[in-house]
């Protein structure tokens, strides 16, 4: 090897990267150079940097372990903004998969003041104290100290990286997609499956989490397929697939979640590897794919070996070392030791040797090693120690030696600058398990393997426990309905063999890590079992094994094996913990995608909204709608504006946008019969041209909705609902119509948005609208209160109601919505000179409260019956049936002492009580007080020059004239109970 001065561990002869394309980046502020296509880990390794992070609990120095998503240790933070503003910060990024780009700014995490010297590492000294579950056993005294001392301390110590502190400026996209075959994983297995399916003209999506397709074939320098190198075969196959219009290849795309009925979530990282991403690109793209068939070709993940100090920087997985060498052209050291329990590490060692690295020793746990491997090692002059184990290492921030113990018990320290290890390969069962398939234990190979999934999916290749390429190809082809291809395969290395659990019992003298990130050692697992944690689920939660950001990709099998040995139970009886989505951590942004800001939820606006905006309205959200709340004039606060609006309506007139009211057209020969069922009132006697206030209950007898209903003809009703209630009322009606009364000839149509509804209320209302109305006589005689007529207003077809929610003479004009603004303006043109005003929902509330009209949802909640609300007159007694009739007869709904709607007047007329204030009879009683009601509505009434309120009150109707109390934080307010109608009780005005 000829180390370049800048990247001393770059092997010029190896790898697929272009040495001319250098990339500059910084790590903890220090500048480095790497090559285009490097991961942060491979680039740092090329520079001889192994130390990349600190562990969670003990702050142990950690290097990179793996070359993939399974990485538990090398987690770093990336900041994309030059200003380091805190917006584009990404914590907990795996150095092993993050591609470098020019200008990348990476920082280590969970250390202070620096990665090399971390004060938090004192935890390491206390480590024996910090055994599994220690915090359950202490920090309990003194009690208060938990909040003030212990917990803040624990929290500060935890947590790894730092959250962004500003809003994410990046965009995330979403795509729903369908295909015949979805293939997850683009290694040998996935590519062959795609090739076969493509030949059958199926619509295929193939995704792989890596930047390039090929999986392990890219890291294998020796294998040949029909005489081609593995990489060449990948190149040819990918080219063939790319040319096929039925195939969509998605790289940097992780299948993270397998949901019901073959819906799989994929997330594609679009720009994280780019130096200067085009602002039009989304940062990530979520793919929600529904596939007829899913082919899982996830591959296998190499396990580490569990021995003392197996976490020291410089110790890496053998397969990772091979990948770094063959894909990235990086060697992990100059004098490398090998510790293995399977054959694949030999291939890694031989490749390193060939690249010029000295192989200090191969320590093999197995007593018998394949003869061919021994011979090959012998030929290269590499020392092999079978039936031996590494039991410790020297060096803290980077290992410098390994302690090897042989079966005979002799110990030897061998100098190395890196150690590559392998305990064998764990088939990735993540997505198979998420599809609700059960993993099945294979005693012979000591692995869990996929069985039959309840969904339409199949596992192939290394994730299916297949150890060789020829079989992988055969099952891949079969998975997509093809025949096993006839390919000549040479120099394939089998994935078979390995070990789970402790490398050896003598390897446990120090800290032998099972889960690196969460600092779980073999001893912790044993302690958990000793303490009675016999379920693997308890072991997991007590030790936190497998709960870190890598979700136990390396550790789960070891933890399971150690626990099983302690329990003296077979592994499958102890069992795996549950695999859950996401396969690898997935940004919230990719789930949220477009649904931010104005696209979080539709914001519904009426045709008159813009006029209101132009005229200074403040708005109030009501369900999805924005409603004009009040129209302050310059200098007015809300109270003053509402006072003025109220006064104007009562003395002159006001114009109000009521378009958000729900509207349902009920049409058909059985319309009245249907109304009789749905509403508590009777509808038989209502004449066309007349309107009526209706109450709707659910079957339980509580008020569900209300509104005015106009009868347009014998077969047509114009029903209105509350603003928020419109969708559920329509659904409720459809439900009864379709499922209980399917023989009724009646149909329902939502017309909420067909009509703009303009209320003109006040003594001058008629005078204002009269000239605009054609086709109807709206005089007091011909068009009395509670009338409806179809006519024209401003020349456009209209439904004109004479109704009032204010107690004044009033009209509601419905015109087709596109005309809403023009008609409103025409009315306004007459209203303004007449001294009228535009008013909003707040004034509407005050005016209706003065009249004692209820608002469903404010003066009633789901516990108030029509009787409770004083609306018994609207409940037809003679009807044989209506929804709610039976519910209303239940014992508690007919019992005495129910809470009933009443009016309240404060003894001090200036005092406006709080809505939601609670009422008591005896303000002197001790807490808990007996509350007998609460205030539902409360306003200052300018008209009455005093406050008014409504309340639901225990036995309220019987309490007229009683004095009651409202105990607030700083005062007790005295109130008197009375009826709910405060203004114009005789209804003179309304009939004017």
């Amino acid at each position: 090897m000829t180390p370049s001065s800048k990247q001393p561990y770059r092997a010029k002869s190896h790898g697929a990267l272009n040495h001319a394309r250098t990339v500059r980046f910084t790590f903890d502020g220090k500048p480095y150079e790497g090559l285009e296509g490097d991961t942060l880990a491979s680039a740092l390794l090329a520079n001889g940097v192994h130390l990349m992070g600190r562990s969670f609990k003990y702050h142990r120095p950690r290097g990179v372990m793996s070359a993939g998503v399974e990485e538990p240790s090398a987690l770093i933070g990336i900041s994309r903004d030059k200003s380091n503003s805190g917006a584009r910060v990404q914590p907990n990024v795996r150095a092993s998969v993050q591609e470098i780009y020019d200008g990348m700014n990476a920082v280590s995490q969970n250390r202070f003041p620096s990665l090399n010297f971390d004060l938090g590492a004192v935890n390491s000294l206390l480590a024996p104290f910090f055994a599994a579950g220690f915090y359950y056993k202490t920090f309990m005294w003194p009690r208060k100290a938990w909040d003030k001392v212990y917990e803040p301390f624990i929290r500060r110590a935890a947590g790894l990286g730092e959250s962004p502190t500003e809003t994410d400026p990046d965009r995330y996209a979403n795509r729903f997609e369908h295909c015949d075959v979805l293939i997850i994983g683009g290694g040998a297995a996935g590519l062959m499956a795609a090739k076969t399916a493509a030949a059958k003209k199926q619509r295929i999506i193939l995704c792989d989490e890596n930047p390039s397709l090929g999986g392990w074939l890219l890291a294998d320098s020796d294998v040949t397929i029909d005489g081609k190198s593995g990489t060449q075969w990948v190149k040819d196959t990918v080219a063939e697939l790319q040319a096929n219009e039925n195939v969509r290849l998605l790289t940097r795309t992780t299948g993270f979640g397998y949901f019901q009925q073959n819906m799989v979530g994929l997330v594609e990282r679009v720009t994280d590897h780019l130096a200067q991403p085009d602002m039009d690109l989304p940062r990530e793209r979520m793919w929600q794919v529904r596939a007829d068939k899913v082919v899982i070709a996830q591959g296998a993940i190499e396990r580490h070996l569990v021995f003392a100090d197996n976490d020291r920087p410089g110790i890496v997985l053998a397969g990772a070392a091979q990948k770094w060498l063959n894909q990235f052209g990086v060697t992990v050291g100059n004098n490398v030791g090998v510790f293995t329990a399977c054959d694949t590490a030999y291939a890694a060692a031989f490749d390193l040797y060939e690249a010029g690295t000295h192989i200090a020793v191969i320590v093999d746990q197995r007593a018998t090693v394949d003869q061919a491997l021994l011979e090959q090692a012998n030929e290269l002059g590499i020392r092999v120690m079978p039936n031996a184990g590494v039991v410790g290492v020297t060096g803290k921030l980077r290992i410098n030696g390994i302690k090897v113990k042989t079966a005979s018990g002799s110990e030897e320290t061998i100098e190395v600058d890196a150690l590559i290890t392998s305990a064998g390969w764990t088939p990735s069962l993540h997505l198979y398990s998420q599809s609700r398939g059960k993993p099945i234990w294979d005693e012979a190979s000591q692995r869990f393997l996929p069985g039959q999934s309840p969904q339409a999916c199949v596992s192939i290749g290394a994730c299916n426990g297949t150890n060789d390429l020829a079989t992988t190809f055969a099952e891949a082809a079969k998975a997509t309905g093809g025949r096993a291809p006839k390919l000549e395969i040479e120099n394939d290395v089998s994935l078979a063999g390995g070990t789970i659990g402790m490398a050896s019992e003598s390897a446990e003298t120090g800290k032998a890590f099972v889960d690196f990130q969460n600092d779980v050692t073999a001893k912790d697992i044993k302690l958990a079992v000793r303490e009675g944690m016999h379920s693997i689920e308890h072991v997991k939660r007590y030790t936190t094994n497998g709960m870190a950001t890598d979700q136990g990709k390396l550790s789960n099998m070891h933890g399971l094996s150690i626990a099983a040995k302690m329990l003296d139970k077979p592994v499958p009886e102890v069992g795996l913990t549950t695999f859950r989505a996401p396969y690898t951590p997935t940004t919230f942004g990719s789930f949220v995608a477009h649904a931010r800001g104005t696209l979080f939820d539709p914001s519904r606006k009426t045709p008159i909204h813009e006029w209101a905006q132009e005229n200074g309205a403040e708005f109030e959200p009501v369900s999805l709608w924005q409603r004009a709340w009040y129209f302050p004039r310059p200098g007015e606060d809300m109270h003053e504006a509402v006072d003025r609006e109220c006064r104007t309506v009562r003395t002159s007139a006001g114009v109000f946008d009521a378009s958000t009211l729900g509207k349902i057209e009920v049409v058909g020969p059985d319309a009245a019969a249907f109304m009789n069922i749905m509403y508590t009132n009777g509808w038989d006697k209502l004449k066309p041209g007349r309107a009526k206030y209706g109450i709707m209950c659910r079957e339980d007898g509580f008020i569900y909705d209300d509104g005015v209903v106009g009868k347009l003809s014998d077969t047509r009703f114009h029903v209105t609902t509350t603003t928020g209630g419109a969708p559920r009322v329509l659904n409720h009606m459809e439900d009864y119509l379709q499922t209980e009364f399917p023989d009724m000839q009646v149909w329902l149509t939502s017309t909420t948005e067909q009509w703009a509804t303009i209320a003109v209320q006040g003594p001058k209302a008629r005078e204002i609208i009269q000239p605009l109305v054609t086709g109807a006589d709206i005089s007091a005689e011909k068009f009395p209160h509670m009338s409806v007529v179809e006519c024209q207003v401003c020349g456009v077809p209209a439904r004109l109601f004479r109704i009032s929610f204010t107690g004044e003479l009033g009209f509601e004009i419905n015109v087709p919505a596109d005309y809403g603004r023009a008609v409103w303006e025409a009315i306004w043109e007459r209203a303004e000179p007449a001294g009228a005003c535009a008013y909003g929902t707040e004034t509407m509330h005050v005016l209706r409260a003065e009249k004692g009209y209820i608002i469903v949802g404010q003066d009633t909640d789901g516990t108030v019956t029509p009787h409770d609300a004083g609306l018994s007159w609207a409940v037809a007694k003679s009807k044989p049936d209506f929804v709610g009739k039976r519910g209303l007869q239940r014992p508690d709904l007919t019992a005495s002492g129910r809470r009933q709607l009443v009016g309240l007047k404060t003894s001090d007329p200036k005092k406006v009580v709080q809505e939601g204030a609670q009422i008591v009879a005896d303000p002197e009683q001790a807490i808990p007080m007996k509350m007998i009601g609460f205030v539902t509505s409360s306003y200052w009434s300018g008209t009455l020059e005093r406050s008014i309120a409504m309340a639901v009150l225990e036995d309220g109707f019987a309490r007229m004239g009683e004095t009651l109390y409202i105990p607030m934080e700083d005062e007790v307010i005295e109130v008197e109970v009375e009826g709910t109608v405060f203004y114009d009780p005789s209804g003179e005005k309304i009939n004017g």
């Binding site: 079957e699 399917p742 519910g887």
Partner: protein, 100 residues
């Protein structure tokens, strides 16, 4: 997201188009006013809530708007049978069969 077959649209549609409408075959008595408190309780509140085959109603709310019934396995969430509102409840024998 479930994929639900609508018997009216005769097509598999994503769950986002549907709303669940609770247990099926709870018939509203025609003599509603005469039923006892216990019968009312049974109708309005009590539910089978089975672990196994649930007979339940869905509405193709953002589709054809129709309510219909399904038999679904509440453990696997698989739809085993879809039928129109008004069609008879599957017999116990048929449910046994579906469970297999």
């Amino acid at each position: 997201m479930l994929l639900i077959h609508c018997p009216y649209c005769k097509d598999d549609r994503p769950e986002l188009e549907f709303s669940n409408a609770g247990e099926a075959h709870i018939v509203r008595p025609t003599n509603m006013s005469d039923i006892s408190d216990t019968e009312f309780e049974a109708m309005f509140f009590m539910r089978d809530n089975p672990k196994g085959i649930a007979l339940e109603r869905w509405r193709h709310a953002h589709g054809c708007g129709r309510f219909f019934n399904v038999a679904r396995n509440t453990v696997s969430d698989k739809f085993l049978k879809v039928y129109k509102a008004g069609e008879p409840r599957p017999s116990d024998a048929e449910i046994e069969e579906l469970l297999k």
